[in-house]
Amino acid sequence: MESGKQNEYAAFEEKVRRTVYLDNLSPNVTESIVRTALDQYGTVKSVEFIPNYLEPRNMPQCALVEMEKGKQAKVVISTLSEFPFMMSGMPRPVRARAAVAEMFGDRPRKPGRQIRICWLDTADPDFEVASKLKQLVKRHATETAVMLKHQLEKEEKLAKQQGETLKANYKKYEMIDSLMADGAARRLARCYNLRVSDDSGPSTFH
């Protein structure tokens, strides 16, 4: 019985090593998208999204992707940190990290682990310290919430900024495009005796 549990846990640990933790995923991303995306780096064994029950709804999604080999997982992580990887939308890149055991919701028990609990009453000498700890924990929770909000605000700001930039850029591009399209550029070129080529530059922004 014991050895079975230990084997199970060892297998789980190995799985953790092979898994990549992705976040900053758009809500539109589905399992198949993730699969096809990461297939270029190796065989994807499974994709699991981490459900979000408690955080604000506009948080980006996270997922755990289990690759076949640990090496493949490492390759994924290193590529994604070098180049911004886009999934179902741009330009917010997907972030990849090595997975940790605590990220798995239904992880098996660690064998040989003992949990011990103890009730403290008000008369106990440690009760006050424990109450202080409780308050500290609550305070930390609020701090975390504030931090999260702050982060989301920052992200929004950046996105807006980029949106502006994009619009401006696009306008410029459109302008150039339309000029090219309706022949205004050619006419002007003839006026100024300049040669102008007809091809429109490559743009992946559509």
């Binding site: 709804r57 939308g89 609550k138 559509h206």
Partner: protein
């Protein structure tokens, strides 16, 4: 180890036997008081110190002051307690107790004495009083003190919550003299004082006959002289006995053949006469006591083993009542002590899989008000462990799910969602956790809160930009595919630049989360170091 267990089972069947009763000791004639009883092969007398197993990890030590049986035929003992230093650590002040020092409970109030069942007695305890009180016969030696399990020289007054070394006249209506060391002549009837036993006997002139009698019982005849060396060898032998660690019942018979070896048998002087008969009678009595004392000594030398066995047996019984596979047997619920949490039976858990999927269960739980979030859990716990924990703490079977750690969860905290079976159960658990503290072994108090799932429409994802809708119509199939294909962008377009800006923001956020978590961890450490009890 297994044959000890067998020994216990045998002795349990040995049953119980009352000794002589005390006449006129009862206020009403329904209760019979006794002077002694035999339990599990040992004879316990009034004013003996014994170990009790009351479910605490350490056995409690008490002095039997009354042995009686009531009209309900339940055998009871009234016990005055000795306190361990750990139990009164708040009130010790500057006093530094020795490792085997205990304190007699005195005064008026809770904790001085109470009535217990005979069955909770585990074994005898050797307690020596080293107080300099004039009523205390200083009839103990250094060796006695060393051999004793515990000693006490102070008492703890439960009313004043203080220790003192001047003893009052009465402790719980019992004369304090009974708590001090016994007078010499009672020692023969008492437990260990083999040395004094031997001394008394060696004062008899017919030492050789003694040896002869004793060894004769085994069919080995020994002849030797009356010499001083015999005394010392005998004394040596008897000293060896209590220290021996053999666990067999027939200890005396084993050691007796040893004696003839060390004592050089030579002469065949045999003393005859009435003196010998007298001596023989005395010695018979002594011999009867002899085998008994070695019996008690292994008990006392290994009280811990016995206690552990006891606890193990009890937990085994408890565990076997459950169905299902249980890998470890642990766990008795006790207040104020660290308890280990054992596994909840599996078959109950299996039933829950037939129910609806997790999200639906969450929503239903929230509607019925039984959704609770348990915070400050060790993040490495699994959902099953949380379920076991809640079951042990509140005796409620629940469903738990550990919330996974994400990029911004502090690594020192874990959180779990718990679905209770009913709103009342959830309420009572929250209330209990608010009033008292449930601490995990590493010094974390658990916090519970009513939780509500975040509802609301999915706001759009921040950061994915699209151009104006008009342009969308112009997109060709290829363009659409280009957008939706996941790719790593190359550094030749605006997408790359923007992507890098996002990466920058992500790294920044990583850093500030890390700083926050580190600070939080430090704050927690600082407060945890104030905990007095030893947590891991």
């Amino acid at each position: 180890m297994s044959h000890i267990r067998e020994k216990h089972r045998e002795e349990k069947n040995l049953g119980f036997k009352w000794g002589t009763s005390i006449r006129g000791g009862a206020k009403n004639s329904d209760i019979m008081f006794y002077e002694s009883f035999i339990f599990k092969g040992e004879e316990y007398f009034v004013y003996d110190c014994v170990y009790f197993d009351l479910g605490q990890p350490e056995a409690s030590i008490g002095k039997l002051v009354k042995l009686f049986v009531g009209p309900d035929h339940v055998k009871k003992v009234k016990v005055v307690w000795f306190m361990r230093p750990s139990e009164i650590r708040n009130y010790l002040g500057d006093y530094e107790p020795r490792w085997n020092e205990i304190f007699l409970a005195s005064g008026h109030g809770r904790g001085v004495s109470n009535i217990n069942l005979v069955e909770s007695i585990v074994g005898k305890c050797n307690v020596v009083c080293t107080s300099n009180d004039h009523r205390n016969p200083q009839a103990y030696s250094e060796a006695d003190l060393r051999r004793a399990d515990y000693f006490f020289c102070c008492h703890f007054d439960v009313g004043e919550l203080a220790i003192s070394d001047t003893f009052p006249d009465m402790v719980d209506r019992v004369k304090v003299e009974h708590f001090f060391n016994k007078k010499t002549e009672q020692k023969l009837l008492g437990r260990i004082n083999l040395k004094s036993n031997v001394k008394r006997q060696t004062q008899r002139p017919n030492l050789s006959s003694k040896i002869k009698v004793v060894t004769k019982s085994n069919g080995v005849t020994v002849k030797d002289d009356n010499s001083g060396s015999r005394v010392s060898s005998l004394v040596k032998e008897s000293k060896v006995e209590p220290v021996s660690m053999t666990k067999q019942v027939h200890l005396p018979s084993e050691n007796i053949p040893v004696r003839p070896k060390t004592s050089n048998s030579n002469s065949s002087t045999q003393h005859s006469g009435s003196a010998q008969c007298e001596a023989r009678d005395e010695i018979d009595k002594a011999e009867v006591k002899f085998p008994k004392d070695p019996l008690t000594s292994p008990d006392e030398v290994q009280p811990y083993k016995k206690r552990k066995l006891f606890l193990d047996e009890r937990t085994n019984d408890k565990v076997h009542n459950f169905d299902g596979q249980l890998g470890h047997d642990r766990g008795i619920n006790i207040d104020n002590q660290l308890v280990q949490v054992s596994r909840v039976p599996d078959d109950d858990r299996r039933n829950w899989f037939e129910q609806q999927p997790w999200e639906q269960r969450l929503e239903r739980a929230q509607e019925s008000g039984s959704l609770v979030s348990l915070e400050n859990v060790d993040p490495s716990y699994t959902s099953e462990e949380v379920e076991d924990l809640v079951w042990h703490a509140f005796n409620e079977k629940v469903e738990a799910k550990m919330i996974e750690q994400t990029t911004f969860s502090c690594p020192c905290y874990g959180k779990a969602l718990i679905i209770f079976k009913s709103k009342e159960a959830a309420n009572s658990a929250i209330f209990q956790l608010m009033k008292r503290c449930l601490m995990l072994a590493d010094g974390r108090p658990l916090i519970a809160r009513r939780e509500s799932l975040r509802k609301g429409a999915k706001v759009g994802f921040v950061g994915h930009l699209t151009v104006d809708k008009l342009q969308l119509q112009r997109q060709t199939e290829d363009m659409k595919k280009a957008k939706s294909t996941s790719h790593a962008s190359q550094p030749n377009n605006i997408e790359f630049d923007m992507g890098m800006e996002w990466r920058l923001l992500q790294l920044q956020s990583d850093m500030w989360w890390k700083a926050l978590h580190e600070r939080q961890a430090k704050e927690i450490e600082a407060v945890r170091n104030q905990l007095k009890m030893k947590w891991q």
